[in-house]
């Protein structure tokens, strides 16, 4: 089958499902659910068929022609898009299955599933996009889907505020991306990605080093917005207001990864500019450290996972920036798998205990939920980077690429971040499985329904066997498989184990203080728990500035422009009043003024 038609099927079935669900079966929940799941299944099968079909040349048609400008719409079937497309389709389908259980008793079920369908369409459209502009379009549609999904329970004020914040911050990032793309189109006259990336005739040859850095940094601004890197990351923790499957799907595995994917897609461009790489590395490593420190003091289960996602995304970006294309992509895929697993387990707990607080879950017998706890532990271990699991392989690759790239300081800081990751992950695990108070004996805690557990189990298996995909992925990406000596792997493993030990020391032990080593330094503790005051700074600076400008211009409108016009009208009417008073009713005055004017006119006529 021609890959283009298959791609169309993969991408547009979720859209069709979304449209039919929204328009026709708002009331019929079951049909809507079935439609969306069917759409999800078709796209999974299609994506894997495409993956098995292997890379083929891109196909596109001219979508918009204005004057000399030709913007195309089509699909790229290289290794990157096929592999990530398959992962996205798979996880979307799993979350849809999971949501059946999770959203079972929610009245607006149809709208939820329809929005998932919309998201599926947007994300897959973005992954296979061939044209920068087409990528931007689906990029913003993904943002839209996240807006609706975060604000799904719109009756909760905090949810709608979070949705608005998410949309605005991603929007700020998108502005940078849009400006970058517009400049690229203006300079190169085209937006066709393969043509841009072409070594001989691509963008790099057309433009000087300085402008290329500017363009690339503008695009990175978009990535920062979408993948929640340092300046624009504050929306991701708030996005946890949305239902947990949404957090699992969008805000950990797929949507936030779109930024990293775009980075990987335009990798040659980034590599061509030194300064850009340095900037990305610094931002990435700072984000990783910052998010890890905040996660250490966070008590909300989903918030911890959110901050860990920010950290892991920073790792991927660092790897890509350091030149490790394979490392970045591998970590991207594997992280999607085990982070989705962690979120689904968290969802299962929250679904059962109706609370996000880790300690509460632990105290009320979280560990009695066999499969969920197993998933949590394995997911946590993989996140920490313990050897046999998927996380270890991808983290190893990331650290290796950093050291190969020669960025030893960044490598060292990354190691420290890995240590912190392991620490807060197992802090979370110990909170849940080793609660400070002994469990009540008769707490009737039973594990979630099979429809929730199914995806968890599948992902657990995937996390365990994750490491195996290294070979085939390298093959499909046409990259050679890197071989690391045991010695080079040692520092990563040691850090992970140290992290686990310190976590056990602070939280696992029966006599543990359960306040974490950071508790010792109250200043740092407050800094981290207030999320480095970033939100407050934004609120104080930007929000107030916008409001101020709005008030000032509102005053300008009311007094100057509008008021000015009214003043002018009053003045005219006032002069009208006075001219009317000229009409004094006094006949002799009339005649006198007539005579005077005629005399003056006579004088004027006479003098010429």
């Amino acid at each position: 089958m021609n890959p283009a038609i298959l791609a169309i099927v993969v991408i547009f079935t979720p859209l069709v499902a979304f449209a039919t669900a929204m328009l026709f079966c708002m009331k019929a929940h079951r049909i809507a659910q079935g439609l969306i799941l069917g759409g999800g299944a078709v796209s999974v099968v299609g994506a894997f068929l495409l993956l098995l079909g292997g890379p083929s040349e891109t196909q596109s048609i001219v979508w918009l022609s204005s004057g000399s400008l030709e913007l195309s719409f089509g699909f790229m079937f290289d290794g990157l898009s096929l592999s990530f497309g398959a992962v996205v389709a798979l996880i979307t389908f799993l979350v849809q299955v999971y949501s059946i259980g999770y959203m079972h008793h929610d009245p607006a079920k149809t709208r939820y599933f329809a929005l998932l369908g919309l998201f599926g369409w947007a994300m897959l459209g973005f992954v296979y996009a061939v044209d920068l502009l087409q990528a931007l379009i689906f990029w913003e549609l993904v943002g839209l889907a996240s807006f609706f999904l975060i604000g799904f329970w719109y009756e909760k004020p905090s949810a709608s505020a979070a949705a608005r914040k998410a949309f605005l911050l991603t929007r700020i990032g998108d502005t940078g991306l849009l400006i970058g793309i517009l400049l690229i189109i203006n300079i190169s006259g085209m937006a066709h990605i393969p043509a841009l990336l072409d070594a001989e005739t691509g963008l790099t040859t057309m433009v000087s080093e300085g402008t290329l850095t500017l363009l690339v940094l503008l695009i990175f601004m978009g990535i920062m917005g979408k993948s929640a890197q340092f300046p624009l990351h504050t929306w991701l923790p708030d996005a946890m207001e949305g239902p947990t499957p949404v957090s699992a799907l969008l805000h950990s595995a797929t949507m936030v990864a779109a930024g990293v994917f775009l980075f990987a897609r335009l990798h040659p461009l980034f590599m061509a500019s030194e300064t850009a790489i340095l900037v990305v590395l610094c931002i990435a490593i700072f984000t990783a450290l910052m998010s890890a420190t905040i996660a250490m003091v966070e008590t909300d289960l989903k918030k911890v996972l959110a901050y860990s996602s920010i950290g892991q995304l920073a790792f991927m970006l660092a790897a890509l920036a350091a030149g490790g294309l394979l490392a970045g992509i591998l970590h991207l895929i594997l992280h999607a798998v085990f982070k989705a697993l962690l979120f689904l387990c968290a969802g299962s707990y929250i679904h059962h205990f109706e609370t996000n607080d880790m300690r509460e879950i632990g105290r009320r017998g979280g560990r009695r939920m066999r499969w969920t706890t197993a998933g949590l532990v394995i997911g946590g271990a993989s996140l920490a980077g313990l050897p046999p699991l998927a996380g270890f392989f991808s983290k190893e690759e990331v650290l290796a690429s950093l050291s190969h790239g020669g960025y030893h300081l960044i490598w060292f800081l990354a190691l420290f971040a890995a240590f912190l990751t392991a620490y807060y992950t197992f802090r979370m695990v110990f909170f849940i499985i080793l609660p400070d108070r002994p469990l009540e004996a008769d707490a009737t805690v039973h594990d979630s329904s099979p429809v929730i557990l199914g995806p968890i189990i599948f992902l657990t298996i995937a996390t365990v066997l994750g490491g195996l995909i290294l070979g085939p992925l390298a093959a499909i990406l046409l990259l050679d498989v890197p071989h690391h000596s045991l010695l080079s792997m040692l520092p990563a493993i040691l850090c992970a184990l140290a992290g686990v030990f310190v976590a056990w020391w602070d939280f696992g032990r029966s006599r543990a203080t359960r306040r974490g080593f950071v508790g010792a330094v109250p200043v740092l503790h407050r800094l981290f728990s207030r999320k480095w005051y970033v939100d407050d700074v934004y609120q104080a600076v930007f929000a107030r500035f916008i409001q101020l400008m709005a008030t000032v211009l509102h005053r300008v409108e009311v007094d100057l422009l509008d008021g000015g016009a009214d003043r002018l009208a009053d003045v005219t009417r006032w002069t009208g009043g006075w001219t009317a008073r000229l009409q004094s009713g006094w006949v002799q005055a009339y005649i006198a003024s007539g005579v005077v004017v005629v005399a003056l006119a006579g004088y004027f006529l006479g003098s010429r």
Binding site: Q588, A592, V595, V596, V598, A599, G602, Y603, G606
Partner: protein, 167 residues
């Protein structure tokens, strides 16, 4: 020589009468002033060679119009009552009038009119020329004047009659 003296006298009489009529506070004196002016103007017409028009002037103007004015005055207000004559109005109006006078005088002085070689002969001034003119070339004028006078009379009568009813 005497003729110029006589015409000068008539001119002065006319101008003095006019100014007197304009400025005297008492109403009846104003009409008397008008009478003098009209008499002066009649003299000027005589000098300008048309005795018939001078006669008409005296007959209609002094005989008819001035007397009508006196009757109107008697009907409307007691003769003796002297209207308060406001000074400012006189000053302002005379300024306007003098302005007009100056402008026109300068113009009259500076333009040279296409004078005829010698004034027309007496024959051209006879009454039958006027009659001939009225009936042939200027017939619409004659008819129009007749209509105009009759309309004025009818209008005056209809307007000024006692109202039949107190509506």
């Amino acid at each position: 020589m005497i003729a110029t003296l006589v015409i000068a006298a008539f001119m002065i009489l006319a101008m003095a009468g006019a100014i007197y009529a304009a400025l005297v506070p008492h109403t009846l004196h104003c009409i008397i002033g008008l009478g003098l002016t009209l008499f002066g103007v009649a003299g000027i017409y005589l000098y300008l060679g048309s005795p018939f028009v001078a006669a008409m002037q005296i007959l209609i103007y002094i005989g008819g119009i001035s007397v009508a004015m006196v009757f109107a005055l008697m009907l409307s207000v007691s003769l003796a009552k002297k209207m308060k004559h406001s000074e400012i109005k006189v000053i302002l109006s005379s300024i306007a009038a003098i302005l007009f006078l100056a402008v026109m005088a300068r113009l009259i002085m500076t333009t040279e009119f296409p004078l005829r070689e010698e004034p027309a002969g007496a024959a051209a001034w006879g009454v039958e020329q006027i009659g001939h003119g009225f009936l042939t070339t200027y017939s619409p004028l004659f008819i129009g004047l007749a209509i105009c006078l009759s309309v004025a009379i009818i209008a005056a009568v209809l307007v000024a009659r006692r109202e039949a009813d107190k509506s």
